[in-house]
Symmetry: C2
Subunit: 308 residues, 2 copies
Amino acid sequence: MDHQHGRLLLVGGTHGNERTAPWILQCWKAQPALLTSPLPTTTCIGNPEAYGANRRYIDRDLNRCFTEALLRDRSCTIREVIRARELVDAYGPGGNDPHGLVLDMHTTTAAMGSSVVTCGERPVDLALAALMHQAVGMPVYLFQINEDQPEECGFLVRRWPCGLVLEVGPVAQGIVDVRTVRKTTACLDGLLDVLRDCLTGKARMPETMVIHRHLASLDWPRDRDGRRIACLHPDRPRWDWTLLYPGDPLFLMETGETVAYQGEEPVWPVFCNEASYEEKGIALSLTRRETMTPPAAGLEALLALLRS
Amino acid sequence: MDHQHGRLLLVGGTHGNERTAPWILQCWKAQPALLTSPLPTTTCIGNPEAYGANRRYIDRDLNRCFTEALLRDRSCTIREVIRARELVDAYGPGGNDPHGLVLDMHTTTAAMGSSVVTCGERPVDLALAALMHQAVGMPVYLFQINEDQPEECGFLVRRWPCGLVLEVGPVAQGIVDVRTVRKTTACLDGLLDVLRDCLTGKARMPETMVIHRHLASLDWPRDRDGRRIACLHPDRPRWDWTLLYPGDPLFLMETGETVAYQGEEPVWPVFCNEASYEEKGIALSLTRRETMTPPAAGLEALLALLRS
């Protein structure tokens, strides 16, 4: 049923302890008039089992389970892989009820405010991100997909023709904080406005867009036993989206020593102190701010998708 | 070895995902000069296994395992009960290395700032809390022990002759946030100053102290399936320690309805939106602010303990 691709899938609770988006979806269910979408829209909880348990995941991070290899392997019993397959079979482009666009709504304990993340550089994703950036003013984080590190692939949004990740913080895991709810609904309103403009022919691509291109993630300094022995340096009042120069204080060691940032170029840190990245060995990620021209083909692809 | 009771036990990581105090203990180990205590002081991680796993607990909340019944039951295989017994056997008043005083250092996702909690109304605890309140200006939450609800008993501090709980927030679980570290060390410095004054005879009990007496905890409104259907009402910019009058907005339901606070008297809420209380069915706790005279016997008992 190819003619149904012009539909939007809104996913909350891909991580079960990020409770802001599920709360919004719950309010929409109780008050359907609150969701005024210009196109057919479906909502779902990404990982209902983890959401029920108030945990990020049960067996494995759902947002790393959407690799083609895992989805193909029907013998795999990892609960999140089974769930990933369910979602793709239901709402994926070849599924029973196909949707062309997906927004995967997350929160972070990092003080990042609202931002939009693209997983890779698909022109259609960049086009939608550019329009969101223009409409809402939120920064765009371009996460580089490294196919050599399968652990870092398998993002949900990559299995849909067009998909963005929303990240809103800071908020603790496990709670519904009204300020974070409001920030998230503001972003959602922006997305729906953008899609409305696309459908009515009013959308205009900005000539340039500012993106933050993922360069690397840094782990905490650790001792021989793997024990973390540093925290983010207290001399920086803000970490996320603020320029870090080579030589700037980076970590404060348990010994009181300061470790300076050793890179060769100034960078913009993101996801500083994200609680769930402790297990991934990520203290913060570094990005390079770039100005780019949104790919012209992106908007065309987005419009084609919306009208299909 | 009764003469060794005048020693202080500082516990961090009783909940394994509250990582502020363990970080402070780690820095002290690397830089012993940072801990300038006026009396012999021991530090320890309350729940090392949960701390290693970055989880609140493995089998059961350690801070509910210190009931006499559980400690006596040597056949119990709950890991936290075994750990509770280890701590009591090691550092308890009848243990191998007895300590008279304990400070159990926690964090909360609630925006409560720094506060001190007494579990019950032992005069010696109230005296130390009064001195802390006087020295640091932090509010005192008097948690009522209800012996009829064994689930709510079994606090660590109750197994020591004198013990207080420190609560500092807001901070997400699983991270070390430097502002929270600083708030916690400020409280610790206050405690050590107070103990120094006690030992040098300079401690003067205030004539009155303000306490917040626990009245009740409220659960979230839920539907028949137990699903939570409300959040804290957004019309209150601050929740913790701010007066809630009967008729004030309390919950915002998923339907958009406002539920007003139905109590008979104005109350001071605490632990509003503490993430780990979701599983306990606690949305917030209500307290009554009272002015009381610190029990005279309390300071005498504290001084006797310190000199023993």
